[in-house]
Symmetry: C2
Subunit: 128 residues, 2 copies
DNA sequence: GTATCTGCAAAAGATTTGCAGCAAG
DNA sequence: CTTGCTGCAAATCTTTTGCAGATAC
């Protein structure tokens, strides 16, 4: 059984308010700024509980960190700017249509995929 | 300048012969089996040199490990079986055509992307 | 001979875990 | 009151790094 506690409420509120992908240490810093004492392991444990229950989606990116965000059920990916690291969600995903094609060419029945776009955002392009 | 040494030749030979994505510790184990004494840091340093020179491509997957393989210049992705971890390369990638669409909808000029498919291979599906 | 490799041990960084005390239901 | 949460310290795992000795060219 999953229990409701003050700390968990605070974490949920932060994740809701930030409304973007976050790492455990992002959350840790935000709590620190707000003078909320919390242990990193508590954060990790809770994030894992939530993603095991499909409340959060966890994604490991090329920077080797784990990013978490609410599972909106809407399938999506993100683009991350290589300069400023700002990121934007994308709704389009042409990959579902590929599943049959992949099944017949490889014999693999696709269950999921991870897609990470990297690029340069408009602001960073204009700076140079 | 990059030097040619016995150990590096051996590593290159293994990567060539295996002809699939490998982790540093995969290489380490293969060397061990062949009774080739080599240090893990040596492997890491060489793999990094090679991928910085675009001879290898490095990819961090959802299992949090770094996988390396020869850069064939041909853009491709892989499907990994969730049960047996066997993987197969894929030539198709519909994402390049998306770049203009993403540019106009988000302002990001895409520079690269990472895509990881997970599924169940034919053999594992038949087992059950 | 000098720049580059290598092995070793230690460090780094992210994440997990064991345990004892605390809090929720 | 019992199960689950938390903090703390230690462990884990992958990867990196400093340094001294060895090797390539």
């Amino acid at each position: 059984m999953i229990r409701h506690t003050k700390k968990r409420e605070i974490l949920i509120d932060i994740i809701k308010k930030e409304n973007k992908t976050l790492t455990a240490s992002n959350l840790y810093s935000i709590c620190k700024e707000k003078n909320i004492p919390i242990n990193l392991s508590t954060i990790y444990r809770f994030l894992n509980d939530l993603s095991n229950n499909n409340i959060l989606i966890k994604e490991i990116r090329q920077d080797k960190n784990s990013y978490y965000e609410f599972n909106t059920k809407k399938h999506k990916h993100h683009i991350i700017c290589e300069k400023c690291h700002k990121e934007v969600p994308l709704d389009i995903c042409p990959l579902n249509q590929l599943e049959n094609q992949i099944l017949s060419s490889t014999g693999y029945k696709i269950t999921s995929h991870t897609l990470e776009f990297r690029g340069i955002c408009k602001e960073c392009r204009n700076k140079k």
